[in-house]
Amino acid sequence: MNRNFCILILLAAAAFSFGSEQTTAVGAEGNSTLSKSELRAMEQQLETITDPAARLFFQANIERAKGDPEQALQTLSKLIVHHAHSKKWIARSELMSAALYIQLGMLDAADVTARQIQALYEGTETAEKATVLRAEIEKLKESVE
């Protein structure tokens, strides 16, 4: 009984550590509104991540949550450039990149990024999200004009 209980605990712990890399604290395109406790949790979690692409994605999220979108974009760019074949992280990174460009007011760059996502992931949820971003960009451009 004790042995079974220990196994269950171990299994639960393993599931938790595996699931941590896919934490729901970070959305598909990165979450810009994290509470302080969530932020702290993410920073602690960052220490445990070994996958280089995942580390970059999380770091970018943290930087974004701290209100430094430019730094976040620089970090994310490393992922996009050096880990373009990381299927798990590339799509969401591209979406986050587009969102960060919007945040920085670089609407043309945001539109280019979102357009490329639309083309590359046509017919998928990722492409739909990119379409939403493009609509947002269009509105912002109109308001600037």
Binding site: L73, Q74, L76, S77, K78, I80, V81, H82, A84, H85, S97, M106, D108, A109, V112, T113, R115, Q116, A119, L120, E122
Partner: protein, 1037 residues
């Protein structure tokens, strides 16, 4: 007979088939000794045990033996043999032989397996490089050719109709069994050889069609018939089950579409490729890079970027291939391996496959362990890994191009990441430095990270001085400074540029030329025209026929113009027009040559030139300027209506606010001459409406105020002026404010009552206290001092207050000049005049600077230079009272040079100008005396001197009269008229205008104390005298 023959054929063939299946394999016998059936038998035996190569000699010998046999059966058998040989050759990768046999088969009857034959023929023609024939064969195969028998070929045998002999001892049942066995046997190489008519040929399977279509498509691609390759590639993409084949077909389709410039279609397939594992195919990776480069060249950056991002680094490809290899090895019963790379004794890279369980430094041959042989697919895969690893490195190139593409596509942060990475990995190499320069450019534009770009750029330049890299980095920094309008920072790069190691490389020289050109442009913007001229000269001389030859020629001429070297500038503009009759600066060069003519006072030619420009280039940017200039010329000739038309045209066609500004205010000055005040208001208000914040609002306020004054609305005008000064006076470039200052001084002195004037001064003092803008404060101080008559005192204060004069507006500079003039301090005269000439050349306040400079040069004995300044003053201000000094200075210079006739003429001219009545007359008359005295005619001189103290003693506080008394006394002494000399001195002391001046001391000394006392006593008693000395003969005229 025929029937019998057919039965015998059937039975004989079947027997051979049975015999072939049943008979054991024998050793090879001498081919020449074997009969035809023996040959077929031996061949069949070898085929049955899959010893295909061994069967070939038998089969070829059979064909040779039966070459001339026309028997139908034999002919049919020969065809079977040919097809067999074709298939065996194909299997053994002997494409040429396969083609040979298959061709014969398809060209000979009977041909019962045309589809199979054409298919194999097409494949082997491709393998042997006979691409056009391959296409024909594949097309034939795909047309589903039907089997063709010999003419009059009989159909199936009915055994019940055969005789006993024809049945050959077999029963009907036995013959039927033989037929069934023959029919059941499949079509493979191991099958026996029979000349019987086979069953209908089945249609191609999907895999066969895929293979055929792929071959066809590849053949078309090799012939660069891209259009034709599309359909077959599409078929493969839609039908291939193997992912790698499908992926490869997609890649090839992309290539064809790129060649056909159907980039949108290509993009669709690129996206499809992105989502397959075909990227792990080495061929696909190589093809990706080629296609990406082609798209880049066509400026299809989006698509090109997608392709480059798909290219996998070698390590990823190797890892994937390793997995695939091990999967194959597992299924083949072989141990798994790690892929290792080593270099053999010749330095060649070899790929080795060491067993995972063994020591990594050793490799073990699988065969020595008695392991099963490797499947062909595995061998091919291992070979392809070897090829991959032997390839030169491509990852850096891909990363660099990806960086460039991110930049072109408009994703700057990704671009800098990629390019910085390339640069960091190879900082000393050409590629690394190129990447660094690109990285820097993106930091500048569009990211505007100027500080970072400057820091990194300077670090680079402190390390590297040779090659293209430093030039490109310097170029990026220059661009950065240009964007920020930091022209002085650009100039700081010049010594760095001059330290670059020299090169003969054409690209390096092009960049270098551009750097020096940009330096010269910075000099122009900084108004440093001598340096700008030298800079453009450097470009023209050191980099002949460069890409900036034309522009440098034009701008060199412009620098000459700004330096007022009108003759040289004119010649250069004319030379430009002749050299570049279609040049981009042509209209501007033609216009500015007109400006040069204007500067050289060749007004008629200038008029002609401006008219040519107006007629030739109505849409050019300088059209408005040409209209204004011609308007000025017309106005100077009194053709005011024509001038107005030109100004109106200039205003209507102005592309820049400054063009409209000039024309509007020239026109208002014209209206002012004729007191057309309503039209002034209309023109100025229209100008303000059109240009808003870009208008010269201060100048507009000046004219509106002037109009109000003319209309008697003094208080309103004064208030508007005050408001304009406070609002715009903080901007040093608002020269309209300076006009208001002068006008306000004028109006307040003439038209305001005392209390109004004091109230105005009070408001101005309040504005002064409330302002923290230095320029506005200075302007207000000058205004107040002008109103209070304390300009000289203010000037003296400002001389000590202001070390730097660049923030001082023109009125302030003028006050400084006046104060300096009074103190005879000419130390900053050149500097101040230069500021006016480079920044405020149209300012009215430049008069004081010209005067200070002129006197400074004169006092230093630099008469030629002084004469230039005087001439310039007269050119600008004509007979304005403020410019009379220039005329008198001219005369004094001529006097110094003993050019007495010229000097006489110059001084006499003063006396003919009504505007110069007053002190200038006294001074000029005095100098006329000087002329006569120095030319040796004291009698004439005396006459002029006498006129001075007779007619002009009331001017200049009697200064010239006092001087004239002394010089006339000197003349009388020279003439030996001592008594008249004494009388002159006595007259001087009796003259109340001069007797208190310092010059009177000389008279007192000459007369002595007793006589001075006598005169003083008489003056106190109210005695007046009329001492007049008259000389005979010629006197003053």
């Amino acid at each position: 007979m025929r029937l019998r023959r057919n039965i015998l054929r059937l039975i004989g063939g079947s027997m051979i088939s049975i015999l072939c299946v049943a008979s054991p394999a024998f050793a090879q016998e001498d081919l020449a000794e074997l009969s035809a059936s023996g040959l077929l038998n031996e061949a069949a035996k070898n085929l049955a045990v899959e010893n295909y190569g061994a069967a070939i000699p038998y089969l070829t010998r059979y064909l040779d033996l039966m070459e001339n046999t026309e028997d139908d059966r034999v002919v049919a058998l020969k065809q079977v043999v040919r097809l067999k040989l074709g298939k065996i050759s194909a299997y053994l990768d002997d494409s040429f032989s396969a083609v040979n046999y298959l061709k014969q088969y398809t060209q000979t009857l009977p041909c019962y397996r045309p589809r199979e034959a054409w298919k194999l023929l097409a494949l082997n023609l491709y393998e042997s490089g006979q691409v056009e024939l391959c296409i024909a064969a594949a097309t034939n195969a795909l047309s589903r050719p039907l089997p063709k028998g010999l003419p009059n070929q009989s159909k199936a045998v009915k055994t019940e109709e055969l005789s006993k002999d024809e049945m050959g001892g077999f029963t009907a049942r036995q013959i039927k069994r033989i037929e069934e066995e023959a029919a059941k046997a499949g079509e493979d190489l191991s099958q026996g050889i029979s000349g019987d008519v086979p069953d209908a040929e089945p249609d191609y399977t999907v895999e066969e069609l895929v293979l055929l279509k792929m071959t066809l498509a590849e053949a078309y691609s090799q012939l660069e018939n891209w259009e034709a390759s599309i359909d077959p590639y599409e078929f493969v993409i839609e039908n291939a089950s193997a992912e790698d084949r499908r992926g490869y077909a997609i890649m090839q389709m992309v290539n064809s579409l790129i060649e056909l410039e159907q980039f949108d279609e290509a993009k669709k397939f690129i996206v499809e490729l992105y989502h397959t594992n075909a990227r792990y195919d080495i061929r696909v990776n190589m093809a990706l890079m080629s296609a990406a480069a082609a798209l880049y060249a066509e400026a299809e950056y989006d698509s090109s970027l997608m392709l480059y991002r798909m290219v996998l680094p070698r390590s990823n490809l190797v890892a994937y291939q390793e997995d695939q290899i091990n999967a194959l090895r597992r299924s083949a019963g072989l141990p798994r391996v790690d892929i290792q790379i080593s270099t053999n004794e010749t330095g060649r890279i070899e790929t080795l496959f060491g067993n995972k369980s063994s020591d990594l430094s050793q490799t073990v041959s699988e065969f020595s362990e008695g392991l099963p042989p490797k499947p062909i697919a595995l061998v091919e895969m291992e070979e392809s890994v070897g090829v991959l690893l032997a390839l030169p490195s491509y990852e850096e190139d891909v990363l660099f191009r990806t960086g460039l593409l991110f930049a072109r596509a408009g994703r700057p942060w990704e671009a800098v990441t990629a390019l910085e990475s390339v640069a960091d990995r190879d900082p000393d190499g050409e590629r690394g430095q190129e990447a660094f320069a690109e990285f820097l450019m993106i930091l500048v534009d569009p990211l505007e990270k100027y500080a970072l770009a400057e820091k990194r750029g300077k670090q680079f330049l402190s390390t590297y001085v040779a090659g293209l890299g430093p030039r490109r980095v310097a170029h990026a920094l220059t661009r950065s400074y240009q964007k920020q309008e930091l022209w002085k920072e650009i100039k700081k790069l010049l010594p760095v540029i001059e330290q670059f190691a020299s090169s003969t490389d054409s690209t390096v020289l092009q960049y270098e030329c551009e750097l020096y050109y940009m330096q010269a442009i910075a000099d122009m913007v900084l108004l440093n025209y001598p340096s700008a001229r030298a800079g453009f000269e450097r470009v023209l001389i050191d980099y002949p026929d460069s890409h900036q030859q034309e522009s440098a020629t034009y701008w060199h001429a412009m620098a000459q113009l700004f330096l007022k070297n009108h003759k040289e500038a004119f010649d250069e503009f004319e030379s430009y027009v002749a050299t570049w009759p279609n040049g981009s600066w042509l209209p501007s060069a033609a216009f500015h040559s007109g400006v040069c003519l204007f500067g050289m006072e060749r007004y008629d030619e200038a008029h002609v030139r401006f008219t040519q420009v107006i007629e030739a280039w109505p849409n050019a940017s300088i059209y408005s300027d040409a209209c204004s200039m011609r308007g000025d010329l017309l106005a100077s000739k009194g053709m005011l209506n024509e001038a107005q038309r030109d100004y109106e045209e200039a205003i209507a066609t102005a592309r820049l606010p400054r063009q409209a500004t000039y024309a509007v205010f020239q026109m208002t000055a014209l209206f002012d001459l004729e007191e057309r005040y309503d039209e002034i208001l209309v023109a100025v208000n229209a100008y303000l409406d059109r240009y808003g914040d870009e208008a010269d609002v201060a100048k507009a306020a000046f004219w509106i105020g002037k109009t109000k004054i003319a209309q008697g609305r003094i208080v309103e005008a004064v208030e508007a002026y005050h408001e304009a000064i406070v609002k715009y006076g903080g901007n040093i470039r608002q020269d309209g404010v300076d006009l208001i200052l002068s006008e306000l001084v004028n109006v307040s002195g003439r038209l305001l009552e005392n209390d109004e004037r004091e109230a105005l001064k009070k408001r101005l003092r309040t504005s002064l206290q409330e302002s923290d803008n230095v320029t506005l404060q200075l302007r207000l101080r000058v205004l107040l001092a002008s109103m209070e008559g304390t300009v000289i005192e203010l000037g003296k204060q400002l001389i000590s207050e202001l070390d730097e004069l660049e923030q001082a507006p023109p009125p302030v500079l003028s006050v400084i000049c006046d104060a300096s003039f009074e103190q005879e301090d000419y130390s900053r005269a050149a500097e101040i005049l230069n500021i006016f000439q480079t920044r405020y050349e149209d300012s009215d306040f430049m008069r004081a600077a010209l005067k200070l400079r002129g006197f400074g040069l004169f006092s230093a004995g630099e008469y030629d230079e002084a004469l230039k300044v005087a001439s310039e003053t007269q050119a600008l201000y004509g007979t304005d009272p403020s410019a009379v000094w220039a005329q008198i200075m001219k005369g004094r210079i001529e006097l110094q040079k003993e050019e007495f006739d010229a000097a006489r003429k110059t001084f006499r001219a003063v006396l003919s100008v009504r505007e110069w009545r007053g002190e200038p007359y006294a001074e000029a008359t005095y100098y006329l005396g000087q002329v006569e005295e120095k030319s040796g005619d004291p009698r004439k001189a005396f006459g002029w001197y006498q006129r001075v103290y007779f007619q002009y003693k009331g001017y200049a506080n009697g200064y010239w009269a006092a001087e004239a008394y002394l010089t006339s006394a000197r003349c009388l002494e020279q003439l030996g008229l001592k008594n008249d000399q004494r009388n002159t001195f006595r007259a001087m002391l009796f003259d109340k205008y001069v007797n208190q001046l310092p010059q009177a001391e000389e008279a007192k000394t000459a007369l002595g104390a007793a006589e001075v006392l006598e005169i003083t006593t008489l003056l106190l008693q109210g005695t007046q005298t009329n001492w007049v000395v008259t000389l005979d003969a010629e006197g003053a005229e």
